[in-house]
Subunit: 334 residues, 2 copies
């Protein structure tokens, strides 16, 4: 049986927004597993803002994707051929399989997926890195206490929507920052946020102050740029700023802009802390179990935005993250 | 007995470096204490970079000095007239007396000075806010562990010189960043720093990397700007950046520049935390006792830069902080 692999390789390092021409589409026969290897047919790819940062030269928390290499992506798939004792044919697995239909693996970084906890796409969202990032970033780094005010940016995105809801579950007030009235309504009416700030309506600082007159105790930032600077001026004493991402800066052609209001950390005796989710690998299990409980009980809702059309649609799917057309977790179905 | 008070009042809010014309010199009869008040003859004034930030409009960690008000300054003096039961004539006291020869007080914020711990100017330096800032900022916020590498900026300044020495006392490697070979030699040869980086020689990043090949565990920053950005690229995993000040930015005419490399906090799982020394008031005593012990035993050295000439010399003394001509704690003798 001959399988045809379809894939996108990184062809150029974009300046500004990525374009289809930054990727090269290729079709080739799928590889055959050697001894100790197996072949995964990838069914779903996670589409994440961090992908843009992996396209830049220079090491971030992971090395950049090399020119000519298959674009990095987390995915879920099924083992279709195996010469690996621990990964039999039929097993559903998650891993960093790349933007391709078939991926060869030796098992490193691959984990079985427990479909009893949730459907496959959910394992790329609430039960995947999005959920884990929200969970550990908020609870371990943000350390919110009941009654405190948690603000999250890119709140209608996958990580943000989960972060606000987890804050609510933990007894906090949750305020989301998102673009446009529809997303803001979604946060409050569908997800139960206590308030929402529409950054497209301007004056984020005043909007946050109105909703958090006692100051912001935890700011979970996915965005950077102006929004980070605005929220820095609204911090409560002892506030924690969690640096989860900087999606506003990944496409910047002028280089990253630092937070000019960082001295508010001094004024407010506040801290700004970064984290990398991989450090929590030993605790993924406990977090997934709790996230799955919340999903089952309906306390945590996930909206998955499944994009169809297969590998070919990858460049548009990625660009969709940066044009704000996406609500919830973006997943590409192959 | 009529005493003549000499003083400087804030006359204008400078843009960029402060000038003598931003202050108005005044002579007037010293006030007489009413019931519950006392008069202090101020003998020494602390000259601090933070003074520049108090001249700007807008609240920082303290309100700005109002136009027409006596310029704020910490000082040491002697009670010369008293109608206050707790502060008899002859008592040596510290407080925020302002840039003037005589200050009226109701006792609020005034503390007796224990000259057995050190001479009066030392109570404005190693036993005053400089020492307390170095002590609590390094030990409580930076939390260095023995064997770790501590980098401090403005290391030949009052706070910086003490911070590096305390790091050494606690078993850390101390690296100072200062301007010019003389200051760098002073840090290593006189104060026992393990290394010094001359920022005027360029490429701070490479210099720090050479001296801290394993990464910087604690960065105690008094400076901000380029130096903060450079050191952010040299952090070790789990590093703590202590925001003590931003002297490079206080005179900026373009507004404060934020640290463009702040995403290194994420890459390195690091934190950046601000603090205000007043929060530690309840623990000043324990810190002063330990600092005094270290001074007595010679483990901690302080160089006091006493400027003579009285109140009249205040504007030049302040400017000297920003032109880099100062080494150690600047004190104006009245």
């Amino acid at each position: 049986m001959t399988r045809t692999n379809t894939q996108y390789r990184l062809a150029a390092r974009p300046v500004g927004l990525p374009a289809a021409s930054d990727f090269q589409y290729a079709e080739e026969p799928a590889p055959r597993p050697g001894e100790g290897e197996f072949l995964v047919q990838v069914d779903y790819l996670s589409i994440d803002p961090a992908m843009r940062s992996w396209m830049n030269e220079g090491r971030s928390y992971v090395p950049p994707v090399g020119l000519g290499e298959v674009m990095r992506a987390a995915g879920i798939g099924r083992v279709v051929e195996s010469r690996h004792p621990a990964h039999p044919v039929g097993e559903v697995v998650s891993g960093t399989f790349g933007v391709q239909r078939y991926a060869l693996s030796d098992g490193k970084g691959v984990a079985p997926v427990d479909l009893s906890l949730g459907e496959a796409p959910v394992h790329l969202g609430a039960l995947g890195y999005s959920g884990l990032t929200a969970y550990f970033g908020l609870l371990d780094i943000g350390r919110p206490e009941p009654g405190q005010t948690v603000v999250v940016s890119a709140a209608a995105g996958s990580v943000g929507a989960l972060t606000g809801q987890i804050a609510r579950i933990k007894g906090c007030r949750a305020i989301g920052i998102a673009g446009g009235p529809d997303k803001c309504r979604f946060l409050v009416e569908e997800l139960g946020f206590d308030g929402a700030v529409d950054y497209k309506a301007g004056n984020v600082r005043a909007q946050v102050r109105d909703l958090a007159p006692g100051g912001v105790d935890v700011f979970f930032d996915n965005v950077g740029g102006d929004i980070l600077d605005d929220v820095l001026t609204t911090l409560a004493h002892g506030a924690r700023v969690v640096i989860s991402g900087a999606v506003s800066q990944y496409n910047s052609e002028q280089g990253v802009r630092g937070p000019a209001n960082y001295m508010q950390l001094l004024v407010n005796r506040a801290s700004m802390t970064g984290f990398v989710i991989f450090d929590y690998a030993a605790r993924y299990g406990e977090a997934r179990a709790e996230l799955a409980d919340w999903l089952r009980s309906g306390r945590l809702k996930e909206r998955t935005h499944v994009i169809t059309g297969g590998v070919e649609r990858f460049p548009q799917a990625l660009l969709g993250l940066f044009t704000g057309e996406n609500t919830g977790k973006a997943v590409l179905a192959l």
